[in-house]
């Protein structure tokens, strides 16, 4: 695999230090990592919640972006993992974010930098809503996130 060394270094670095609100939940292999995310300011939409991000790395990472989405497991009473409400996050966990597309991705980005971007995307949000057409998208979409052509028409949120 192209990026064994790179992922190894990323992991090492993250185990040493991570920004507040971001923790590693699962990183046994080099194909799929889980990260837990908290919004630390007093944004009422996300207070006292922990969200889980799933990173899937293809063989071309980091030349190609990883596949990143929110997941609901493990969703137990003691460790709830809901999908955060946000106008760019569908209720199935798929995130519409420019930097995760091949056009917006830069190979210099890391798992950590993606987590930080998503964290700040939540922090800055004030709208308690899902993207338009959420229910249709969630019931009909069978594609993987990287095969979806999102239109990044809203640069403000």
């Amino acid at each position: 695999m192209f990026a064994t060394k790179r992922l190894g270094k990323e992991l090492l670095k993250m185990k040493e230090h991570l920004p507040p609100g971001i923790t590693i939940a699962k990183s046994e292999n080099l194909e799929e990592w889980h990260m837990d995310l908290q919004v630390l300011d007093d944004n009422p939409l996300y207070q006292d919640q922990t969200y889980r991000l799933k990173f899937t790395f293809g063989s071309k990472y980091p030349i190609e972006p990883p596949e990143v989405q929110f997941i609901e497991s493990p969703n137990t009473p003691s460790t709830p993992r809901p999908i955060p409400i946000h106008p760019h996050i569908y209720s199935n966990g798929i995130i519409c974010l420019d930097l995760l597309s091949s056009a917006g991705w830069s190979p210099v980005q890391t798992v950590e930098s993606v987590c930080v971007s998503i964290q700040s995307m939540l922090t800055a949000n004030t709208r308690n809503e899902r993207p338009p057409g959420d229910s249709d998208f969630v019931s009909y979409n069978r594609r993987r996130p990287r095969d979806i052509n999102f239109f990044y028409d809203d640069d403000n949120v």
Binding site: F2, I63, P107, V108
Partner: protein
Amino acid sequence: MESDEDFMSVGSSNDDFLDTQDSDDDSLEDFGDDFDGGFSKDKDIIATSRKPYEVDFKVLSPGDIEREQNIQVTEVSSILGLPPESSAILLRYGRWNREKLIESYMDHPEQTLDAAGLGNHFETNPVTQKVPGFMCEICCEDGPDLETYAMRCGHRFCVDCYRHYLGQKIREEGEAARIECPGESCHLIVDSKSLELLVTRDLRDRYHALLMRTYVDDKENLRWCPAPNCEYAIDCPVKQRDLRRVVPTVQCFCKHFFCFGCTLNDHQPAPCLLVKMWLQKCEDDSETANWISANTKECPRCHSTIEKNGGCNHMTCRKCKHEFCWMCMGLWSEHGTSWYNCNRYEEKSGSEARTEQARSRASLERYLHYYNRYANHEQSAKLDKDLYLKTEKKMTSLQSQSGLSWIEVQFLETASQALQQCRQTLKWTYAFAYYLARNNLTEIFEDNQKDLEMAVESLSEMFEKPVPELSKLKVDILDKTAYCTKRRVILLSDTAENLKNGEWTFNMEW
């Protein structure tokens, strides 16, 4: 036969058009004054090499396209005093609009360079370097022997990662003109010199092919030939806004005839916009319409379409609850007790409902009239094409059976080509006619259509004869081929002239 040959070589003799144009114009004006289609006038049309329905165009090979690009790059480069690689990036950014680009650069050089993804100082020759203590941010490799590269922006990566990155962009994403530096939020464009330093030969070729694509895609006067695997492009001055007045059919070196306006197969005489409407309509309507017409009636009150799938003649419309008789379409209340046997055909309410019904069905029938003929020619053209594939075999067997030479059996191929071309034209005359309002011009058009159609059918029939009869029919087939071709030229010329002069009246807005 002379005129016939002229016609068959339309595409290749195109360069001559400019030279002979002046003398042609006179005869065309003659024709324009008079639409009675008198035979002497027709003769003029046949004799001229440039027909009213033909447009100027030039076929460009990949080499030609590259040459054209280079000329423009060199020119801009010398005007602006920038290196050619930067000028190329600028031109691509400005979609090859030279004048606008030069103006914008003269007014705001810094801003223009920035927007195009160029910094403001230019290295002469990019080189890779070994940098002590360097670690590549992409793969995390380090070591004193690591070859690295950075563009003017200073974002340095190892050559291996750079190569992977460029490979991904070029091969997987089909990017060329706007590949940015891999660095985070750095918008500097990777120029061709840097690229050539970094990538392997095959990737470089792909990159240049993609750059060439963007050149043709960006210029309004250029279009790729849509034929599979064809590498040529067509240069034609017809603009999008002209497409209401002209149907610009062009022919590539690969022999493919297509419309420069919409890149669909040749659809003369129908203009692109009508073709689009027609295809849309056919897609929506045809099969369903056929079935509806055969199996349903409409409610006399609300015009909902109703299929009667059994039961008695007493119909109650699901939608408006109107009660009527399926047989006579009259009010059910007037039927008294003769419930299962309608014998009231002449009653007033029934006959009114039927007239109304007939009117709405008439428009459907009208559409189907044109559609069926359109589809029939499409189908026949396909069959004729199969026939064409068999023609060569036929020619060989004709040779051995009749003792004719290869040259002497060429008439079959000529006939087959003419047949296909005429069918293509006929097919679109029906789509065109569907949108025409009725007037004298339409009648002339329909006469021309009928003449061509009859000629085509009789040629088609001769063509299908068994091989032994073909040698006897040679003169007839030659004559018929020439006649078909001539009828086609007349029809297309007449239609194109009227289109150019805005003489046609259509039955809808477009």
